[in-house]
Amino acid sequence: MLISERFSQTRTRRSALRLLAALGASALVAACGGGTAGSADAFRVALLTPGPISDQAWNGGAYAGLLAIRDSMGAEVSHIQTKTPAEFEENFRQYGAQGYRLVVGHGFEFQDAAMRVAPDFPNTVFVCTSGNATAPNLAGMNFAFEEASFQAGMIAAQLSTSGVIGAIGGTELPPVRASFIAFERGAKLVRPDITVLVAYLGTWDDVAAGKEQALAQIARGADILFQNADAAGLGIFAAAREKNVLTFGANANQNDIAPDHVIGSVVIDLPRALLLVAREVESGAFQSTVYQLGLRAGVVNLVLNPRLESRIPADLRARVDSVGTAIIEGRFHDMDDVLRPADRAGTSP
């Protein structure tokens, strides 16, 4: 009666009913297990990111890694952007239930959920970046972001004419904080009287906030800005371009975002890191551990912008490289007190 009331013309009603029927049918098909994409024995890899993959940084880098796994290993891949803890566990479980072999939660926040889910899906390997927990099928993956951040600090200090440099983070997460400390120590190594301004935005998405904080630091004299703010970091580049100061990219190679104002990027080679773990999983060589990936593994790098590279004097360049060598050779201990014991407990491949 109600439907006839709403659709006085039978034609409309009939098509509405047909739609309902079609919908019911599709639900039925799904319920009967039909339509599962892909074959059962394909190597399947999933990625969960906390933010949009268009940030050209932390999330975008991980997505590039996922695509690299797809392209070079022929894997079936899936990605989901999810921000709410309640959904982390659900998505982990769904991937586990669908027979995914490797599921990467991209950020420390995924760790608790992964720990809960892992025991229920022994055939799936769960990896949490910035995580430090392990289980037979759960690994952590730490990026020694601070190693290259230290190098960035050295360059920033010497290139600064004002003696003030800045660092802006999204929110105060452990790896962000650690890298800012490294940045400051690197700077002080080169120039002990340097002033380092540190600020957090409280958001990873608010571009305008990023720009304003950058402008505020520039106004305080900062002429080199280090940042780790994902999408909001775009605002920092925008400010740098407007005020003609130099910045560092972070997480992904961001040298091209503002080619005249990004001196270099502290890059996490997420494709390399993810491929590494994906290959281990596929070959059966996976061992539960906390991957400690830094300069030595070639996963974290300071990638200088070729267009601006000439601004860096040769002696500074040599000094930065020597610190890099020391890190790779395990002779560098300036950051040991900052990093958590758990981070160092893992093995470095």
């Binding site: 940030d55 975008g60 608010d206 505020a216 305080r220 605002g235 580049f237 975002i257």
Partner: protein
């Protein structure tokens, strides 16, 4: 010599600009008796349309086109809200909530469709600061108010113009009368529905321009959800500004100032005060101001009323 105060004020004005734009539009809307909670949706749509258009056209004409597109997008999404609330007389709060949801979802979806996984980056042309010779050299207020993007100067014209328009034109009277008593307005020869429809759409255009400002005069890029609650802040600003254009401009400056304070404090190295406090401050302030009787007396009497006329 540029002092921290100069920078703080400049940041306050910059941050206040899109807020003031959206709030002035909402002020017009609310004066007609309609509260548009879908403002947030109009802002994000304006931002997205500005991004696409400015990027496609490029250059300084791209910026102009972007602002225009922002306004159009703001109007279009608000048109939906307007049809529901003004003509169907649907509940304004619920419709507004749905519109915001709709716009946030749609822009997210379209952003991926248009720009794929890499996003738009910093490829959008933007307007720079345009210091006004002489005025920008004034002490304290010079840089803050006279070394801003063009859109901010636009506000300097719009705010007094709007105040004058409210008080000194018959259209302004008609708008206020509609918000106070649609019955009275109708009897006096005003067409309340038309007034509300136009007021709501004008508010949408302002919100769209506010969104375009976020992209073209501030960020230089688009990010999903970059409106970041600014529509809701704008509604608070209208209340705080007591539904008058001058008051709204002042309240927007206050909200901008609260945000700028956070930047200032952090850049001065004072990090003991949690930044969440600064983010929450404007809202708390609005609540406190609302508790003062004089603030509410200014509210349009027919605000959010569903039935247009009682007769």
């Amino acid at each position: 010599m540029i002092t921290p105060l100069d920078d703080f004020l400049a940041a306050a004005v910059r941050t206040a600009t899109p807020l003031a734009l959206a709030a002035l539009g909402e002020c017009i809307t609310e004066r007609s008796g309609v509260i548009n909670i879908g403002l947030e949706g109009a802002i994000i749509c304006g931002a997205f349309a500005a991004t696409v258009t400015a990027g496609a056209v490029g250059g300084s004409s791209g910026v102009a086109a972007g602002f225009a597109a922002g306004a159009v997008a703001g109007v279009l999404v608000t048109l939906l809200f307007m049809l529901f609330t003004v003509y169907l007389r649907a509940d304004q709060i619920i419709t507004g909530t749905a519109i915001t949801l709709f716009a946030l979802g749609l822009t997210g979806l379209l952003y991926k469709t248009v720009y794929g996984t890499t996003g738009v980056g910093l490829t959008i042309p933007t307007t720079g600061e345009l210091p006004i010779p002489g005025l920008s050299q004034l002490p304290v207020v010079g840089r803050a108010f006279f070394a801003q993007p063009l859109v901010t100067y636009g506000l300097y014209l719009v705010v007094p113009l709007l105040a004058w328009w409210f008080a000194r034109t018959h259209a302004g009277l008609a708008l206020r009368a509609t918000g106070e008593s649609p019955d009275a307005a109708l009897a006096a020869g005003v067409q309340p529905r038309r007034v509300q429809a136009l007021a709501v759409l004008t508010g949408g255009a302002f919100a769209g321009v506010a969104g375009a400002t976020l992209v073209l005069a501030q960020s230089g890029t688009f990010v999903e959800g970059m409106s970041a609650g600014k529509g809701f802040i704008a509604i608070a600003i209208v209340v705080l500004g007591r539904w008058s254009p001058i008051g709204v401009a002042g309240a927007a400056l206050l909200f901008g100032g609260a945000s700028a304070l956070q930047y200032l404090f952090q850049s001065l190295g004072w990090r003991e005060v949690p930044y969440q406090l600064f983010l929450a401050l404007p809202y708390v302030l609005t609540l406190l101001v609302l508790a003062r009787a004089s603030a509410r007396a200014q509210a349009p009497a027919a605000l959010a009323r569903r039935e247009l006329t009682l007769g």
